[in-house]
């Protein structure tokens, strides 16, 4: 009887309903309790300041903040690879990892354990020192760049005035590290991959910097918090106001972090794995983890620079702001996964041509346009809705230009009906073969 009741569908529905209610209540209280995490770091700082010296308090609070960021990144690396594999599996009509733990959630852990058990092979002719440093060193820029990210009000670890430049400078440190990884392997594939990386990153840093420059121009600051506040004060998302900068930043960043369709640095069908071909075991795993972390970092950067950070139409007063921020980040990350599951890869020369002949000139022109608009806005600040007007103009311009670009350059050239195969009957059947001349 009791057994029958427990197997009843009504019971299951009831228990699910109760669980949801309890979860909602608990979530409400927890969110009230954890609304502003900066309270805790302030508490720790004051605790140490009262009992010990300022130095110790400074050290303790900074270490705790760093641990917070590192633990978040670690969590991202653990769950992110599961999310990526699972979502891509859905795209590919598969199930994905589903064996280890509930829904396969422990699969990344199992992978890590497996990778750690594997032998680390060092090629005999490799430069041993330079071979062993990069897998560890590549974590430094990946972690350091998380510093000035604004998680919420009062919740950025490095609230510095040069935030954008800092992220840009720190992430440019990955270039030599990747180069040393490829060079020291003494493998031609690795060398090809690292030279590709260096060439790509150097080229695509320019559009990235130009798009970030237009962000700085509009907001008048390089501080992440102030950029987020500017967007909420003017009640406009920068991604809407300067959509071309958003596109440039997104596309060029996918080239910088080696995501499809720009993952030519480690194109597995061409140069097998690129710069980390000779790394085995956990060392290769570290490179892959950093790639994943960089993808999430890109999501965080875009959501704070272009998508108004932790603000979301007043919802930030109800749920903790960092939850909103993480949601936006995850959204961008899912977009990256979508791209990865869908697109083939560009060729190196195509990407280079696109960077130098299209993206950089367009970015420079866009920068001038933004400068003119900003000066108009600052000179006629008494007119309301000027920003909205320019937003509409910018969006329509970008759409129009994209349409024209596609119209002029590609659709004409490759009209589907022109490049489709013909049927032999329409060109004269097998007799048509005789027309093919000059057979030796």
């Amino acid at each position: 009887m009791i057994k029958k009741f427990f197997s009843n569908t009504l019971f299951i529905k009831l228990s699910i309903g109760f669980a949801t209610l309890i979860f909602l209540f608990a979530g409400y209280f927890i969110s009230k309790l954890l609304f502003d995490l900066s309270v805790f770091s302030e508490f720790i700082f004051n605790f140490f300041l009262e009992r010990f010296s300022y130095n110790l308090a400074y050290l303790a609070s900074s270490i705790i903040g760093a641990l917070g960021i590192i633990s978040f990144v670690g969590l991202v690396l653990l769950i992110g690879s599961w999310v990526e594999r699972r979502v891509i599996a859905r795209f590919q009509i598969r199930v994905g990892p589903n064996r280890v733990g509930p829904f396969g959630l422990l699969q990344p852990l199992a992978d890590a354990i497996k990778l750690m058990q594997k032998e680390v092979l060092v090629p005999d002719i490799a430069d041993k020192l330079l071979f062993l440093i990069p897998p560890v060193a590549i974590f430094l820029p990946a972690i350091l760049a998380w510093g000035p990210i604004p998680w919420g009000p009062n919740m950025s670890y490095l609230d510095i005035n040069v935030g954008i430049l800092y992220v840009f400078a720190v992430s440019s440190l990955t270039v030599p590290i990747i180069f040393f990884a490829g060079w020291s392997s003494m493998n031609h594939y690795a060398l090809l991959g690292s030279m590709r990386t260096v060439a790509m990153m150097v080229s695509y840093e320019i559009p990235v910097s130009l798009s970030l420059l237009s962000v700085a121009l509009v907001t008048g600051t390089l501080n992440f918090n102030e950029i987020v506040m500017w967007q909420s004060n003017n009640s406009i998302w920068l991604g809407l106001f300067i959509p071309f900068a958003l596109f440039t930043f997104f596309f060029a960043s996918t080239a910088e972090i080696n995501r499809t369709p720009n993952d030519i640095a480690e194109a597995e069908s061409e140069i097998v794995a690129g710069y980390h071909i000779e790394y085995s075991g956990m060392k290769a795993g570290l490179f892959m983890a950093v790639e994943l972390g960089n993808a999430v970092l890109l999501g965080a950067l875009i959501s704070s620079l272009f998508l108004n950070g932790w603000f979301l139409f007043g919802i930030e007063n109800l749920v903790p702001p960092y939850i909103i921020f993480i949601t936006k980040t995850v959204f961008i990350y899912l977009l990256l996964i979508w791209l990865r599951a869908t697109f083939p890869r560009f060729r190196l020369d195509q990407l280079m041509n696109f960077a130098w002949k299209t993206l950089i000139p367009a970015s420079i022109i866009h920068f001038f346009v933004v400068a003119i608009e900003v000066s108009i806005i600052s000179n006629f600040s008494e007119i309301p809705y000027l920003i909205v007007l320019f937003t509409v103009i910018n969006i329509s311009l970008v759409v129009l230009l994209a349409y024209l670009w596609g119209k002029i350059f590609h659709v004409q050239q490759y009209q589907p009906e022109k490049i489709q195969p013909r049927f032999a009957a329409s060109i004269g059947g097998l007799e048509a073969m005789k027309e093919v001349s000059s057979i030796d």
Binding site: Y58, N161, L165, A169, F180
Partner: protein, 184 residues
């Protein structure tokens, strides 16, 4: 006696990183390894700039030295293969070492006779500014505008010059080489 605090510890750490990796650049025979150490030395100098409350300059140092000039050096090494991998001393290295030691000694003398009491940095603290970027921008586009424009022209010429030097074919080079020889 130097007080033990975070600032001093950081100074010691960063200056040690800078100097030791610079010494490594001088000592190590493999050019790639010394290049790696050179990048670390650049990063150390950038960290020292942070300690000197020059945030913008620190980031610029990181961007230009560690991010760009090191890449240029890497490209140069890759474009001059095999023969360029070693980083050995020339026959003048004893002379060079003597020069370095002499220079350091002279600088010690200068520093020791320097009246340091004027330069405490406390007056700068009184000026009380939190953001150097807009001040630097005002200076660059105000007082030093001509130098700024000249620097941009210099960069442009360097860019064009570097490209034209590398792209020039052998006959052009011969002309340049004969001119240099003629000057000798």
């Amino acid at each position: 006696m130097i007080e033990v605090n975070i600032y001093n510890a950081a100074f010691l750490l960063f200056s040690m990183i800078t100097l030791l990796s610079a010494i490594g650049v001088a000592v190590i025979n493999s050019l790639m390894r010394s290049l790696f150490l050179l990048i670390i030395s650049f990063i150390g100098v950038a960290s020292l700039f942070v300690l000197l409350s020059a945030d913008f300059i620190a980031i610029a140092q990181l961007l230009i030295y560690a991010g760009s000039i090191s890449i240029l050096l890497l490209f140069a090494v890759m474009l001059t293969p095999e023969v360029s991998i070693n980083n050995q001393n020339s026959k003048y290295f004893l002379f060079a070492a003597l020069t370095g030691i002499l220079f350091t000694y002279i600088m010690f003398l200068f520093i020791s006779i320097f009246d340091i009491n004027q330069l405490t940095g406390l007056s700068l603290d009184k000026l009380n500014f939190s953001n150097t970027i807009d001040k630097i921008g005002t200076l660059l586009l105000g007082k030093y505008i001509i130098a700024f424009e000249l620097a941009s022209i210099l960069l442009l010429f360097a860019l064009i010059g570097a490209i034209s030097i590398v792209r020039s074919n052998e006959s052009d080079f011969n002309i340049v080489a004969t001119k240099i020889k003629g000057k000798k």
